[in-house]
Symmetry: D2
Subunit: 342 residues, 4 copies
C-alpha cells in the first residue's frame, strides 16, 4: 500500500461542522464593464445586483444571492472561495479548527451584498476561503426559459485550485469532511497525486486539486444542463468574434464524465462550462483512479490540454491584501503524457 | 390500379417554367404589435424591416428579404403564398399557364418592401399565390449565434393548405412540376387522398395538402435545425405564460420524419416548428404511402391531433379582397383513426 | 395558516436512522421474456443477472447490483420498493420505528441476488418497503458509451405512489426524514394536497405522492441524462411498432422541471423517463407550491394527462402475499383542471 | 478583379449532362474485418451486402444500394468517387466531355453489386471518378430508430480532395456544372484559392477542394443529423479505447457551418462526421469568401487542425491500377495561420 493509498483509504473525516457545498467565488477584475459583458452578456449569468465597484451574478438554478462576485481591483486575482455551512454554529466550529491549524481567520458581516455573518480563513496553503450560513435568497429562475440566454449557467459547481502539494491538500480537505470521488496518479514509485476531485454535495466535486504552481485558482466550474448548452456557448463566443476566449475544448473529460469547454475571461480568469456530472452520494462510494499515462483521464477524446491550461492560473489574495507567494509542484502530468494525442 | 395510383404514377410535369421553392407568406393580422411580440419576440424571427402597417421577418438562414410579411388588416387571413422562380422569364410562362386555366392573374411591382416585379395568381381552388424572381438580399445571419434567440427559425420551409379536393390539388401541383414525396390515403375503395407532400426544392415539401374545409391555409412550416430547438421554443412559450399557444406537440410525424410543434399566433394563424427533414432530390424518388389507419403517419408517437388541428385554419383572400368561400372535404382522416392513441 | 401549511412547516423530521435514497423496485410480471425485451431491449437497461424466475437490471450509472428486479408472478404487482440506509445499524432503528407504528416488519437475507440483510416493512398505508445497507457492487458502466443503447437509463430515480391520503402520507414520509421539495394543492378551503415530492438525496425526489386510489404504485422514475435521451426512446418504441406503450408525453412537467415520457410495460406497470432534475440539498430549501388550477404544474406545455394516468396503477402486495385492498382519494386533480389544455 | 475573382464570377457551367450528387466512394482496405468493425460496428453504417472481398454499406437515410464500398486490396487507396446522373443518356454526354479533355474513360457493368452500367473516368488531375444512373434501391431505414446505432450516419454527403491546383480544379468542376458555395483564399496578390466547396445538390457541397499534395482523397463527408450525433460517436470511440482514431474535433467549421469530427479508419482513410449544413439551391446564390488569415474559417472555435490533417491523405488509383503520382501545392494555408489558436 502506497502512502497515497493510505491517505485515500483514510477517507473523509467527520469534523464537528458540516460544509454543504461550494457556492460562490469572488474575483478581482480590472474592468468591471468588460467583465459584465463577458459573464452576463456572453455567458448569460443572471445579474442579482450591481454596485459602483461590484457585480453580483448567479446561475439560473441558484436560489442564493450570488454565484460570482466581480469586484473592481488593481490587479486580477481570486479573493474568496465561498462555502455554505449547514448551520450558523458550524462557523464557530470551523474557526476553532482553523485556529488549531494556526491559520489566519477573520469575522465579517455585511461586507458583501446579500451576506450575513461570514468566517474568512486562509487555509494552510494560502487559499482565501470563506464560510457562511446566511445568504439572501431570490426567486428561482430555473424555469424562466423566456429570459435565459446563452448556455445558460445553472450554478457555480466547483472550484479547481492549482496546488504544489496535492497530497497535503487532499489530506486537508478530507479532514474537512470532503469525499474523494476521482483522482489521477502516477504509475511509478512513489505514486504521486496529480489531480483530485473532492465533494461535499452529491456530485463529483465541490473542490478539485490540479498539480501545479500554487496557491492559485485554476478555474471556476459552472454547471450547464447538457452538452448542447456548452456548444451554444462556443457558438456565441465565436460569433461575437471572441473565440480566442476559448482555451480548451469542447471535449469530454474521462474524469467526472464532464462535457466541457474552458474559457478565459478578460482578465485571464478561467471558467469551465461543465455538464454531465453524476451522483456520488452513496456511503462507501469508491473513488475512481486514473493513471496519469491514460490520455483519456483529461481528454476522453479530443485534443490534449494546451500548456497554458497547466501553467496559467489566477493568483489568490492573502490576509495582507497581497498575492500569496507561489511555489512549483514537484510533479507534472505532462511528463507522463501519451504521444497518442495531438 | 386506382385512380389515385394513376394520378401519382403520372408524376411531376415538366412545365415551361421553374419554380424554385416556397419563400414567404403574407398574413393579415389584427394587432401588429402583438404579432411582432409573437413572431420576433417569442419565436425569434429576425426583423428585416418595419413600416407603419407591415412587419417583414426572415429566418436566420434566409438570405432573401423576408420569410413572412405581417400586414395590419381588418380580419385575420392569409393574403399571399410566395414562390420564387428561377428566372424573370418564368413569370410570363406562369401567367400563360394560369390564364389557360382561366385563373385570375395580376402583375405588381414594388407593393411590398424588397420585392421587384411579381405575378399574383389565384389558383383553380382559390389560393392566393404569388411568384417572383427578384427580391432584395440581406447578409446571412446563420452564424450570428450571438444574436440568435429562441428556436431559432432558419427559414420558411413550406405551406400546408386545407383542401376540400386533395386529388384535384395534387393533379394541379404536379402539373406545376411539384414532386410528390409522401402521402396518406384511405385503405378502402375508392382510395382517397387525405394528405399529400409536394416539393420543388430537395426536401420533403414546399407545399402540403391536408383534406378539410378549404381553400384555407392550414399552417406555415418554419424550419429549425434540430429537435432541441423545438423544445426550447416550447419552454419559452410556457415560461412566458403562453403555453395556450401550443396546439399540438411536441412530437414526431411519421410523414416527413418531422419533430414538430404547432403554435397558434394571436390571430389563430397556425405555424409549425419543423425539424428533421430529409433529402428527396434523386430522380425516381418514390413517394412513401401511409395508410390513414396507421396512427404513426400523423403521430409517430405522442398524442393524436386535437380536433382544432383538423378543423380550424386561416381564410384566404380572393381577387376581390374578400375571403374565398370554402367548402367541406368529402373525406376526413379522423373517420379512420385508430383507437390506440389517447 | 392551513392545516396543510402547518404540516409542511413542520418539515423533515430528524429520525434516528438515515435513509440514503430510493435504489430499486421489484415488480411481479407475467411474462419474463416480454419484460426483458421491454426493459433491456427497448429501454436499454443493463442486465446484471438472470435466474430462472427473475431478471436483475441496473442503470448505466448505477454501481449497486440492481435498479429493478422483475420476478415471474401470477399477477402483475409491485412487490417491493427498496431504499438504502447509510449504515447497517439504521435497519434496527427503522424496525423499531415501524413496530412503534404497529407496522408489520420482517427480516430477510439472501432472498434476492446481490443483497445482504434486509428489513421489509409495510408502511401504515400498505406499501411494501424494503430497507438495506449492503448490496453487491458492479463496475460502473457510465462511460461504456460503446455498449449503451436506447435512452440510456442512468439509475432508478424515484418511486411515485398513488395515495388516497396524501396529507397522511406526507406526514409519514416527513417523519422518516424526507424533505418536501414541491407540491400541488387546491386553492379553496380546506387546502388539499394532490401531489407531493419528497427527497432524501439532493434531487427533487426519491418518493412522490399522487392523489388517487391506493395504495398502488403509480410509476418508477428512471433518470436519463437529457431530453434527447427521452426523444430517442420515443423514436425507438415507435420504430419497433410499440408506440402504444407511450401513455403520455414527451413533455415537460412544471413540477420538478422534468422533461419526461411515460411508458406502460407489457403488464401495465408505468415507468417515467425523467430528465432535467435540479439540486435541492441546501438547508432551508423551500418547497415550491403549485396551484392545482395552474395547468403548468403537470404539463408545463403539451397535452394534458390522459385519464388512464390518473386512474391506473400497479397493485402492491401485502404481508400475506395478496394485493393490498385499495380505497379512493377524496380529492381529484382533474376537478380543478383548466379548460386551456387539449 | 483578380484572376480568381474572374474564375468565380464565371460561375457554374451549363453542360449537356446533369450530375445529381455525390453518392458513394470505394476504398481499398487491407483488412476487411477491421474495416467492417470500424464502419459498421463503431460508426453504425447499415450493411447492404457482403461478398468475399467487398463490403457494401449505406447511411440510414440512403435509398440507393451503397454509400461506401470497401474492397480488400493490397494497399489502402481510394479507387472510385461515384456520382449519380439524372438520366442514362447523361453518361454518353459525360463520356464525350471527358474524351474531349483527353481523359481516360471506361465503361463497365455489373462489376459492383447493385450497379448497372457505369462510366469510369479519370479527370485531368487524376482522380478516379465514376458516373452512373442506375443503382438498386433498398427500403429506407431513416425511421428504423430501433436498429440505428452510433451517430447514425444518414448518407455520404461529399468528397473532399487534396489538390495541388485548386484554381484548375475549381475551373474543371464549375465546367461540370458545380456551383461554388464557399471558398478560402489568401489576402495578398495574387489571390490564391486554398479551399473550395462545390455543390450539385442543394447543400454546401458534393465536392470540396483542399490545397495540398495530390491527387489524393482528403476525406469522405458523412452526414449526421445533429451535433449530438457527432458527440455520441466520439463517446463510442473513446469508450471502445479507440480515441486515437479521432484526428480533429469535435468542433465547428466557419465554412459550411459544419459541426464535425474527423476520424481515421484502420487504414488511415479519413472520414468526417458532418452536421449542420444549409440550403444553397437558390439561383444567384453567392459564394461566401473567407480569408485564409481568419482562423474561424477552418475552426470557428476550438483547436486548430493538426499537421496530419493538412499532410496525410489517401492515394487514388489510376487507370493502370497503380497510385497516381502526386505533386505538392504551391500554397499552404498554414503559412497564413493566425497565432490566436492553440
Amino acid at each position: 500500500m502506497t502512502a497515497l493509498d493510505e491517505l485515500i483509504a483514510a477517507g473523509a473525516g467527520e469534523p464537528p461542522f458540516d460544509i454543504v457545498r461550494a457556492v460562490y467565488a469572488e474575483l478581482s477584475v480590472s474592468d468591471l464593464d468588460a467583465s459584465a459583458e463577458f459573464y452576463a452578456g456572453l455567458l448569460g449569468f443572471a445579474v442579482s445586483e450591481r454596485t459602483d465597484d461590484a457585480l453580483y451574478l448567479r446561475g439560473w438554478g441558484e436560489r442564493l444571492h450570488h454565484s460570482l462576485v466581480l469586484v473592481r481591483g488593481e490587479r486580477p486575482a481570486c479573493t474568496r472561495l465561498g462555502f455554505r455551512v449547514r448551520a450558523e454554529g458550524d462557523l464557530e466550529a470551523l474557526e476553532a479548527d482553523f485556529r488549531r491549524r494556526g491559520c489566519e481567520t477573520r469575522w465579517a458581516s455585511g461586507e458583501r451584498a446579500g451576506m450575513g455573518r461570514v468566517l474568512r480563513a486562509w487555509d494552510p496553503f494560502g487559499y482565501p476561503l470563506e464560510f457562511f450560513h446566511e445568504m439572501a435568497t431570490l426567486e428561482p429562475l430555473l424555469q424562466r426559459f423566456d429570459i435565459h440566454s446563452g448556455a445558460p449557467v445553472v450554478r457555480l459547481d466547483h472550484f479547481n485550485i492549482h496546488s504544489p502539494d496535492c497530497e497535503g491538500a487532499l489530506r486537508f480537505w478530507q479532514e474537512l469532511g470532503f469525499r474523494l470521488t476521482e483522482y489521477i496518479s502516477t504509475d511509478g514509485a512513489p505514486e504521486r497525486l496529480t489531480g483530485g476531485w473532492l465533494a461535499r454535495k452529491q456530485t463529483v466535486h465541490d473542490l478539485a486539486l490540479t498539480a501545479g504552481r500554487g496557491p492559485r485558482l485554476h478555474h471556476l466550474g459552472l454547471y450547464v444542463d447538457e452538452p448542447g448548452g456548452v456548444l451554444r456557448t462556443c457558438d456565441r463566443f465565436a460569433a461575437a468574434h471572441r473565440s480566442e476566449a476559448i482555451e480548451r475544448g469542447p471535449g469530454r473529460h474521462g474524469v467526472s464524465n464532464a462535457f466541457f469547454v474552458y474559457l478565459r475571461d478578460p482578465d485571464g480568469h478561467r471558467v469551465e462550462l461543465y455538464s454531465c456530472d453524476y451522483y456520488t452520494g452513496d456511503p462507501g462510494h469508491r473513488p475512481i483512479r486514473w493513471s496519469v499515462s491514460d490520455p483519456r483521464c483529461r481528454s476522453f477524446y479530443g485534443t490534449r490540454a494546451p500548456d497554458s491550461w497547466y501553467e496559467e492560473s489566477s493568483d489568490v489574495i492573502g490576509p495582507d491584501g497581497a498575492p500569496v507567494p507561489t511555489s512549483d509542484s514537484t510533479v507534472d502530468e505532462r511528463d507522463a503524457r501519451s504521444e497518442v494525442m495531438a
